[in-house]
Symmetry: D2
Subunit: 331 residues, 4 copies
């Protein structure tokens, strides 16, 4: 029975706390949040002790592992503290908004790397994961093209956007990780187009609301990502892979399979799963399951800080490409 502390009792911390609490092989032992009432709300529901300081949880002798769901600029510090305290770590993306800081953290982790997992939740989506497995099994032959659709249901508040690092580092970073994982190769060439098509205020931030990215690997595999901060019809998350022997699509999902036929429209379906907490609810459960299983069995975690750094490099390259209208090579 793994004793786990969740650091940060915000939106994502709540997801992780529930998944820990309902897991048969783990126990929610502590929740840390400077807003202690938020931490207490979670321990009231799921058990465990509420504390203010994440270091109190990290350094508590009974804690085996910590889940980091705190603000981005604390990730590196807490991750390193936990690793040094001998704790396994599941850390939300991104490692940091600054690639140099992220790379330093990677180096600092050293041998601890194998026990620090990055929370790229989409790898654990049942559909994406089935496709990844089928590609590896050779079901579509050699992989040629990957197409990722990634659209949020609505623009985040401007206050959030100011500190987000921009659309590439904040949002498309998920898709860069997905692209690397699905391609099975590192992209070496990045071209990105950024537009402000509905929120002109983003200009002051040097940010975009609508972007497209095109990637190429050394062997010539190709990937296109399309991304928008605002899809009025919901959270649009699709993945397409094309190869020498076939193609696969992973489509959006809905709460129900109801289709309606009326005098005006002869087939209408209900809303998409609304946002990441619904759409990827099962993915977060599987992510936690994989983390707990790896830690319990002393296995290397399947997503590491190296993945976090590589995705961040692609995000930086895309930002540069969009800003300068040039093709950017990535080493």
């Amino acid at each position: 029975m793994l004793k786990i502390a969740v650091l940060g009792a915000g939106r994502i911390g709540q997801v992780h706390a529930a998944n820990v609490a309902h897991h048969n092989d783990a126990q929610l032992a502590m929740v840390a949040d400077p807003f202690i009432d938020n931490a207490r709300a979670l321990t009231a529901l799921y058990g465990g002790t509420a504390v203010k300081d994440p270091l109190d949880a990290i350094n508590h002798p009974e804690i085996d592992a910590v889940v980091i769901g705190t603000p981005t600029d604390t990730h590196v510090e807490l991750m390193l503290a936990a690793a040094r305290a001998g704790k396994a770590v599941l850390c939300e993306k991104p490692v940091d908004l600054d690639i140099r800081k992220a790379l330093e953290a990677k180096q600092a982790l050293g041998e601890h790397t194998t026990r620090v997992m990055l929370g790229f939740n989409r790898r654990f989506d049942a559909g994406h994961s089935e496709m990844h497995q089928r590609i590896r099994n050779g079901d579509i032959g050699d992989l040629h093209q990957v197409i990722i659709t990634s659209r949020d249901p609505g623009l985040a508040p401007m206050n959030y956007l100011k500190h987000s690092g921009g659309i590439f580092r904040d949002m498309v970073i998920h898709d860069f990780d997905l692209a690397r994982w699905i391609l099975g190769e590192e992209p070496v060439e990045v071209f990105a187009t950024g537009s402000r098509l509905f929120e002109p205020a983003l200009e002051a931030l040097g940010d975009y609301d609508t972007v497209m990215v095109q990637l190429r690997t050394a062997s010539g595999k190709q990937c296109q990502i399309n991304c928008s901060r605002q899809a009025v019809y919901g959270y649009d998350q699709r993945l397409e892979v094309f190869g020498s022997n076939g193609m696969m699509l992973s489509d959006n999902q809905r709460d129900t399979g109801v289709r309606r036929y009326g005098a005006q429209e002869t087939e209408v379906r209900g809303p998409l799963l609304n946002f990441f907490m619904q759409r990827y609810a099962e993915a977060y459960r599987r992510e936690m399951d994989v983390f707990i299983s790896a830690v319990s069995n002393d296995d290397t975690v399947p997503v590491t800080i190296h993945d976090g750094c590589q995705a961040l490099k692609l995000a930086d390259a895309a930002q540069l490409s969009a800003d300068t209208h040039t093709v950017v090579n990535v080493d």
Copy 2:
């Protein structure tokens, strides 16, 4: 080059005339209609001679085959006249509304039976026909259940309904033929439920607007038909077959594959193909093709007056069952 006369220049006659005219192995030689202007409208488009009296066409020495699209109560007379004149015949359903008259016609046809085809167009729908073939190939193992959905987009005018013979003989007769053809066995037991759920005026006609039928064959195969005179969302034509080794569905079709996603509804599709002239346009072409090919090659036509009589027997049984709330056996 088969020389064909189309008898009746109404809605269905127009469909057949166009298909004859565009066929590479046939020629529209005559169109007969007491409203000679209707006949002339067709010959102006597609060539051929317009006449008033169908017998003039039937007995014309240059005519090889006739297509009967006249009112139901003339079918038997014209069919027999054409057969006796040595002409091949494609006759619209039903043979007649009176089963005795239909059975007499069957007997009277004698050896001509093999050259008189009944126009059960749905057998020639690409989807239904693919399913029929796959069942025969054993793709779903032994057939267990058949489910037919058959809903018209709107109620026909009361004046038409008065002479239609009722919903079972006029409309469900297509589904009875489909059931027999797909089941590959004769139904021996019929149970039907008839309701007047939106047109009370049908009571005076002893007719129904909404019906369900359940059939059983001697070997225990089962079939359900659901039928309505008015589906506000369009012409709903579906077929499902279930067997020991699988299941198949033949769904409705649309003009385009466009799907729309908006703020209110996240998937909307356009209208179904509106009515039989659109939905079964290709089926009518294939029906004509099969007819022309059978006649040209001196083959037996694939749908005969026997099929017309059997479907009519089932319609009569269903009417009796719905009227009396009893199970009706069919020999």
Copy 3:
């Protein structure tokens, strides 16, 4: 915090125990099963005390409510004992295989009826439930026809079938309840067809492997149910409703939205959710939620023993109809 005992630690008891344990307003306090090891396996996972005798749980002063998941022939006895002990009850269907015993239990319950909920889980399926609500909202106008597809993935063991009460009372009973609930009226006329198309051994039991049922209400609403004990492609659960202003379908669901395109087949999708524990997992959670909420708020439960008795009457009528090839009226 409601203290709940689960009676019966078999397949369905395990589902209920997990849902109780994960519920924020309830606690799994006891599990009763004569095979005490089965009870202990559940309490080891979710907490609570394991006992052999269900009456020990029913009569324990700390228990507020019991969930009955024991063999069918114990339902009435345990339900009455619990009701008399002042406990709320969630009882699996059917009430009993004998309608007289079920009706006696209904009478015996008296004022306790409002706290004894019948476990017709399908009413709590998100899709079915959305459709029920939309019909009540008038989205499809007046309801005319209901079509229920209900096929199990494979035949249960013969030993189970012997004591099941037959396909109508064991399996179709769910669909009879669904039909009543969706129709919003009592069926008054039942016609059923039963066949043995793949398991001849059922003849000795007077049972069928493949059935179709047609129902009519007093106002003329119509319903067709098609049912098989064995669909090789999985657990097929569909619902269609048709009315004066439109139609709705609730389709099967899958684990993922992946579609594959290969050289042989250009669209392939994966398996349906395999069986009721997967397909209706969320429905069982919502059922438990509704039960706990009704009991906590002292509300009448939404599905009562009356519903259990009415569904059983329809099952009896269907059995009689199939056995005698006659139409059966239900009061």
Copy 4:
């Protein structure tokens, strides 16, 4: 009744000849092909006179319009000859493989431009055309992103590829035209990635088998095109448009709506419409209809040599971009 000559009796000439012959307002008067037997095969089917020299048809006084389906390097010469002879023209894409020659032709046409239509058939696809209309109606608000999938079922013969002008000018040119038409603005920035992933022999031709293109308009609208010479699952033609108020998809189409469910796979659909002659059969008919109607009514044709030149400029830019790994601006 427009008298039309079809120049070139190859694959595409056969499509046009049939559509002319079946059109109510036109007549197939001549077919020209140096392989006179090919021309005669068509006139045997549809009427008209067969000639060897296209100029004989162009200059024949009874001919009102010509359809150019000859090899690409003859397009300009025949188009100009026909225009000078006062004939309306429907010319297959591309105008020419050399943009200078195409621009000279454009200038040379002068006032004849309005009667020379370019055969970008995809604009006349019912689905694409519905989407174009809906965008103009404002159904999805402001257009933000366009995604075009364009994959051929199999690699053309190497002999064809040698003279094709390369994948961008031969194949993606259709998608460049579609992009311009749907975007409603000229792309000003082009980035293309070209790979040889299955046919290394294309290296000698400086050609690619697999490409991706990213476009941007002056106002920031974005477009991605993915393209392959070989999709083993068939001719994959999809279009997606995304805007401030919604999204639309135009999916592939099939011959039938049959879906199969078996023990291994629970939903299988049949092949896509195989290639352009099937997939765009209806589009070719509508294209001819629009051409004949424009010419008959003395209207300007809706697709002109200007469109042909602009698409070719984008193809040239894409080729340069892929060859040099740079972003290419288009004036």
